[in-house]
Amino acid sequence: MEILLQTVLSTIEIAVFQDKQLVFRKQSPSLQKSNNTVVYDLQNMLQNRGLPLSRIRRFWFVNGPGYYTGIRIGLSIAKAFSDTTSIPIRLITTFHWLRMGIPPSTERCCIFIPSSKKEGYLARMHHFSVESVQCIEKEQMEKDYHSNVLQEPLFVPFGGLDVSIPYAPVGDITTLPLDYKDVITSQTIEPEYIKSVDDLFQNRKECG
């Protein structure tokens, strides 16, 4: 049994996998993250299933991009689990997590994650590889979409954009194959994460 916690988007998620199949998922709207109940919900979920934490084979944490507050929440939990148990922790970017909800037959796609009212991160992906990430103003991205500059299908999480852009609601699919070979992993939590947050900040600077 493996558990994934995603706290970086405006809807946070707990997802449970058994033999690479998604068996349970809880999504909670959470814009103001100070009142999140991720750990409490996780505790309830485990108790309802009669599962002690020690039975969990691996924990996955989505480590960004997304809301900084959410990233901090997720990784604080990850560090605590890492320090207090011997359960392996794996990190996965938001792009890779969302890509899992897109049909595998889609060879190339774009995924846009809003990082504020005006901007976000646009990744171009080829299957599970992120080919490029750019920080882009939402207005510019909407223009590009409408004028077919993007070329590939565009996906956004949980309605993160204007309703004027039709989007595939990523994350509605109930069976997600978790193929370990294709996702980013990390043995230790700190160094990987710090690099990515600093990188994200660099991107933000270039943006505006």
Binding site: Q32, Y68, T69, S115, F201
Partner: protein, 147 residues
């Protein structure tokens, strides 16, 4: 025809009562989601004005104290109010560390002191109020909408 990007209003305030009246009128004109920058030197009355605005929103003004040390305080009444003080920040990257960019999107009023330390923040403001000191309880206020 020359268009003005920003419209400015100049006011002279001679007493605390006048400041209170200003705050009440000012708040009644707001929608409730604005980002307001308060600019001016130490002692100009930025926190005092924030208290008056809080009072107009039915938040106890005595609870509103300077957020210099804690960097941001949040108050809840019918409307939420977020009170930032960027005095202690030295670098732009610290703005992410206090979740500035996220909180400016939250519903409620966001009041920011010392935003003028970081020119790149100007685009996030809806209204900028500049205060300057006249005499002991006299202040000049310039209120402008941000383009």
């Amino acid at each position: 025809m020359k268009r003005h990007d920003t419209q400015k209003i100049h006011l002279h305030i001679d007493s605390e009562e006048e400041l209170e009246n200003f705050a009440e009128t000012f708040c009644s004109l707001l929608q409730g989601d604005e980002v307001i920058y308060l600019q001016g030197p130490l002692g100009a009355g930025k926190t005092t004005l924030t208290k008056k605005i809080a009072h107009a929103l039915s938040i106890d003004p005595h609870q509103v104290i300077s957020p210099t040390f804690v960097l941001m305080k949040q108050y809840k009444a019918a409307l939420s109010m977020y009170h930032f003080d960027l005095y202690r920040l030295d670098e732009e990257k610290q703005l992410s560390d206090i979740d500035f960019f996220e909180i400016v999107e939250y519903p409620g009023l966001k009041i920011v002191e010392w935003a003028d330390k970081f020119p790149s923040l100007k685009k996030y403001a809806d209204i900028i109020i500049t205060l300057s000191i006249g005499g002991s309880s006299q202040r000049s206020l310039t209120v402008q909408r941000n383009a």
